[in-house]
């Protein structure tokens, strides 16, 4: 699985191209080694239904979404609907030799992206934001987490033996 972390801002040129940040490309490339050598080399992008932003991921992740449609044990009906909507609205964005993608107009419009794109690492996937729109949203999320005094409690993974607890 790719490990996408942090934020990066890149500019869209007049041909509509924007570089995927190198750390993300590297993480995706590493992840792609474990998969089909002939997997699609690019990103899958679709509108986020929670935010005025885009979600993007590698092929493996989309595959899991598609499988969700076949496996109702894993997904609730609501989630099943969601997966369908996502797949319908998703776009394949091929990457050029320099690691750039071109956002389609519908995607750009949805996220109100004009000249700059903010890439936000979300672990297995990433989000693409109009920078100012993100600022408005993100500050809140950060303050919420802080206010709730949320502590770092790692998800328990079956089989994981790293006995690392929360803080203090």
């Amino acid at each position: 699985m790719a490990l996408l972390v942090g934020r990066h801002v890149n500019r869209i040129d007049k041909k509509g191209r924007v570089s995927v940040p190198k750390p993300f490309r590297a993480a995706l490339a590493r992840s792609r080694q474990d998969q089909d050598a002939d997997a699609f080399n690019g990103l899958y992008a679709f509108p986020s239904f929670k935010y005025p932003a885009l979600e993007a991921c590698e092929e493996a992740f989309m595959t899991r979404l598609a499988q969700g449609l076949e496996d109702l044990d894993v997904f609730s009906d609501d989630q099943d609907d969601l997966a369908a909507v996502i797949l319908e609205n998703a776009r394949e964005l091929p990457m050029d030799p320099e690691g750039r993608i071109v956002l389609t107009n519908d995607l750009r419009d949805y996220a109100h992206i004009k000249s700059d794109v903010l890439f936000v690492g979300r672990g297995a996937r990433m989000m693409l934001w109009e920078p100012k729109a993100y600022d408005a949203q993100r500050g809140q999320a950060f303050e919420r987490a802080k206010a709730r005094g949320m502590t770092l409690k790692l998800p328990k993974r079956p089989g994981a033996s790293a006995g690392e607890g929360g803080d203090e």
Copy 2:
């Protein structure tokens, strides 16, 4: 898992670099042997919610966080939100051949770090402090611990509403 212990102060040079204490580097290197040979060589750092300080860890730790988000549960709960906020605010800090990292401006500002960095071992991860801020915080923690001395000795029972921050 890395075992980080003790405190070390190092100076930031005018290029923004600061040496990760040798004992920490050694512990991380040992831990890294057990993982992917091509794992990211550096630290992941993100703001602490509880203190004006930074948390830093190795890739394995961040991967566990990301895996909490990886499942396709779109209706995220508090833990997922937290993981997301952490991942968004985290930064990859690559290590140069001399074992130095460069703190980004946002990270430095958050912890009010200027010229010196205090590295504090925290077991699996470490904290990065402005030295004076740590002293102030530590004094308070000591007083708090002293005041609570008795109750802290009580074993924590599941279901017991230990009005103590911690989990929630």
